[in-house]
Amino acid sequence: MTIELELTAKDFSSDQEVRWCPGCGDYAILKAVQGFLPDLGLRRENIVFISGIGCAARFPYYLDTYGMHSIHGRAPAIATGLATTRSDLSVWVVTGDGDALSIGGNHLIHAMRRNVNMTILLFNNRIYGLTKGQYSPTSEPGKVTKSTPMGSVDHPFNPVTLALGAEATFVARTVDSDRKHLTSVLSAAAAHRGTALVEILQNCPIFNDGAFDAVKKPDTKDDAIIPLVEGEPIRFGTDGRRGVVRDPEGGVRVVDVDDVGEDALLVHRVGLADPSTAFALSQLSGAGVLQQTPIGIFRQVDRPTYDDLAREQLETAGADTPDTKAALGALLAGHDTWTVA
């Protein structure tokens, strides 16, 4: 699939004016996607973006590919039908934290367990943007919004934790503002066979500004971002002073590298069959205001995909034999006929 099509980011920009608020993190994600789509070696006409409803869900309009801006929460279901019938397409889902985890939660977890070929970009701004600022299932507890003047009382989902609970085969997290990281994670996601879930931390300057400041601001960033790199010990902080080790009590925890020695650090491996370590790593980001979080690929394993298996059954059954009319005649007649002369 490395045909040189000589497409550029411009070829992937539609003629529609982009209409997010000034400063919205969605712009950066759009730019990054337009930037790396040409590198996938796919023809525009073979790419389909399907979205639900929300600010994020406007995404498909801005890409000159095939696209559908569907209804709230249902994009993974729609994408499942498309991916199952069209193995030749690259199917993408764009969704927000409300779209994916509130109304669309069921379709999301089922797509992941089935492992249908699609790449899901979950724009997590921890707020409902389009409906003007209610808290979302990823908002921190106590969040004061229009619908929670005394603070919300819901414990939030951690999208990565939930995805691992649903036994997703590819789970990653990245940040809108880090184009390089975003591009590398999305490229890996696009290359994955099966459902790839990528949580993208996305700033909503209008209704939830600064939700991810800790992981974005130059002065806090290094201590807040825990980069997960395949085959590397998990280290972070200024001068890599901090690291992650397995906790004998279960899970993982953050230590000073000086205290334990570099060799004690957990070496990140995305391909472990058992998702337990990935799960433990996902627990490093607290449910409250985001102070610290791993980014990168948590899990990337092979498992047969739903649509491949479904198509295999069609083939095994002989769907490619051409005598369908004769076969149909035989089917309709069945075994117990009688004839009136």
Partner: protein
């Protein structure tokens, strides 16, 4: 229920040879849900069909998977009408009741014709079972069955004796009693048991003991009829005159599934069914999952919404998307149907109606989802609606729904019901080559050569928009649920554009009527003053009632609608021609309301929500009374 409708008359001839000739008979097999009554009924249907009778059937099973043995709610039954002439219903009142236990007798006796025949298995008439069934005394002994011809036989005991040679426990041995009963009834009506024996051989090939026991029981039952003197007379119901051709017996759900398979073949499109199991629609999913070789993909979705969502996604990709469900499922799918209206993509939503509201009577029939199909979505969201009128007609209705969906790029709702789904009738197997073709006509290039592709430009005749499928270079486009500009399909908040688009979508659906022929009115005498008009499965009872009314010397006209939205273009004129219009329905008057609103005709209703087909006798009375009022 085959060939030219509205013919035939009921005749009974007696002969002196110990064989009585009957024009028709209605038999009901009833027993515990574990007794295999559905299978027994099915097989007798098949034997009679092969013999050449016209047939119509009505299975009836409890909502519970296995209600406790011997209880009233656990009773399962199968009613079968066979005749030497064209019939339309499974019959209001059985002539013969086969009752396998006290509960089955109790539940079904009330429906039996006075003077009818009862064949009853005495084996379970113990005190315990009698009281379980709510009998204070044994009806076989207390004289309460004096009005009937009763054959009280220890069917179970004889079955066990007949299969003694096989290596089965007593319980397993007794299991074949339904085959014994079938053998006996087959003898009574002069039916061959060969096809059933062949069927049993195939079905139980893996369990030779069970196979042999069942065949032995079947034969023993037949021979018991032949040998004993208990039955003075056999009956003969001659073959019904039918159009020449090859026939099979078929249920509505099976015919519907076949129609879906056929629509894939005639359109050349892959079929994608996204469905969530629900009674009484699940069998369509089951059947379609067997036909992968026809390019049919079945997706058992996580819920009703995902089922239709995936089907719509498949349609976007150029497949023929279907979803199958019942009323509660349609409720959940409403929002997505609305999206499909906006996207203007082909999609068929099959609703096999059942008793409502809410969970209602899941295993019973009703016609109360017509208005939900018409209006159950936000905004002005019109969709074409078609309905089959008999089990076999489900095949044609499925093809018609698919044709409209593809031709007009629109979701279409097909309204079947529980009675059609499980009922069966003979079906003249169609010639595949003669099936109407469905033309996808995918878009292949922008309308104006190089100009930008216009996904919402419209065909002049149908107002259909192009179906432009991913994979075609140059047709890249984005669609969605927001209002779109006429032609370009871009998002548009323009007030006049919205007004125009709402009207265009309505007009497109209205144009479906241009493919629909004039309303067929059956008015053999040509002078009827009353028109009876219906839709869906009530075709049978209405037709039978009209025949009976005519047989009594009164003229009456009948029309039955395949297309509920839009109505045939001439329907208003048709309605105006009659003094009175009667609309019998298994709901509170849904079609009636639509007719009144559209044509301002003072249509009256005959409405029954009993979870059962309309009663012919009642209908005859209503029609007759109404007719008298016109004089």
């Amino acid at each position: 229920m085959v060939g030219a409708p509205y013919s035939g008359e009921v005749t009974t001839t007696e002969s002196s040879s110990g064989v009585e000739e009957l024009a028709s008979v209605v038999i009901r097999f009833a027993g515990d849900s574990g007794d295999g009554m559905q299978l027994t009924g099915d097989r007798f249907t098949q034997e009679s069909a092969v013999f050449g009778n016209d047939i119509a059937t009505l299975p009836n099973f409890p909502a519970e998977i296995r209600a406790p043995q011997g209880t009233l709610p656990g009773v399962s039954s199968f009613q079968l009408h066979l005749a030497d002439h064209d019939i339309l219903t499974p019959g209001d009142t059985p002539d013969v009741l086969v009752a396998m236990n006290p509960a089955a007798l109790k539940v079904n006796l009330g429906d039996l014709r006075r003077g009818g025949t009862i064949i009853v298995d005495t084996h379970d008439f113990t005190d315990r079972n009698l009281s379980k069934a709510g009998y204070a005394s044994n009806p076989l002994e207390d004289g309460s069955l004096d009005d009937y011809v009763v054959h009280a036989i220890d069917l179970t005991g004889m079955t066990v004796a007949s299969v003694e040679e096989f290596d089965l426990g007593r319980k397993d041995a007794a299991r074949s009693k339904n085959m014994f009963a079938l053998g006996l009834v087959s003898w009574m009506y002069g039916r061959e048991t060969d096809t059933t024996a062949a069927f049993i051989s195939a079905r139980f090939a893996a369990a030779p003991d069970v196979r042999d026991a069942n065949i032995a029981a079947l034969t023993a039952g037949y021979n018991f009829g032949e040998t004993t003197e208990a039955f003075g007379v056999r009956y003969e119901i001659g073959p019904a005159p039918m159009r020449t051709g090859t026939y099979r017996s078929i249920t509505g759900n099976l015919a519907l599934a076949y129609g879906i398979v056929a629509s894939g073949v005639t359109s050349g499109l892959p079929v994608f069914l996204g469905s969530y199991p629900i009674t009484p629609a699940s069998d369509i999913l089951h059947e379609l999952s067997k036909h992968k070789r026809f390019g049919v993909t079945t997706f058992q979705a996580e819920d009703e919404i995902a089922g239709i969502g995936a089907a719509l996604g498949a349609s976007f990709g150029g497949a023929l998307g279907f979803t199958t469900t019942s009323g509660p499922g349609v409720s959940l799918k409403s929002e997505t149907i609305g999206l499909a209206v906006m996207l203007e993509l082909p999609l068929v939503v099959v609703c096999v109606q059942r008793g409502g509201p809410s969970t209602g009577l899941p295993t019973k029939t009703e016609q109360a989802d017509l208005l939900q199909a018409m209006f159950g979505r936000n905004g002005e969201a019109p969709v074409p609606i078609v309905a089959p009128q008999s089990p076999a007609d489900c095949f044609d209705a499925a093809l018609e729904a698919a044709r409209i969906a593809v031709t007009y790029r629109t979701p279409v709702i097909l309204l079947s019901d529980g009675y059609l789904a499980n009922g069966s009738e003979p079906w003249l197997v169609p010639d595949v080559e003669a099936l109407p073709a469905i033309e996808p006509r995918f878009a292949t290039a922008p309308q104006n050569g190089d100009g930008p592709f216009q996904p919402y430009a419209r065909d002049a005749a149908t107002l259909a928009r192009p179906w432009a499928v991913p994979g075609v270079a140059g047709l890249e486009h984005r669609i969605g649920g927001l209002e779109k500009a006429d032609g370009s399909g871009d998002i548009s908040y323009d007030p006049d554009n919205h007004d125009l688009m709402v009207r265009l979508r309505q007009e497109k659906v209205d144009r479906v009527a241009q493919d629909v022929g004039p309303t067929f009115v059956d008015d053999p005498d040509g002078d009827a003053r009353v028109l009876v008009i219906g839709w869906g499965s009530s075709f049978g009872p209405i037709g039978a009632a009209c025949r009976a009314v005519r047989a009594s010397g009164i003229s009456v006209a009948q029309a039955h609608l395949r297309h509920l939205n839009p109505f045939p273009a001439d329907l208003g004129d048709v309605l105006q021609r009659y003094d009175r219009v009667l609309v019998p329905e298994m709901n509170l008057g849904q079609l009636r309301m639509l007719l009144r609103a559209k044509y301002l005709v003072d249509a009256v209703g005959h409405n029954r929500m009993r979870g059962l087909p309309l009663h012919v006798d009642e209908l005859v009375e209503v029609i007759t009374t109404l007719e008298k009022e016109t004089r």
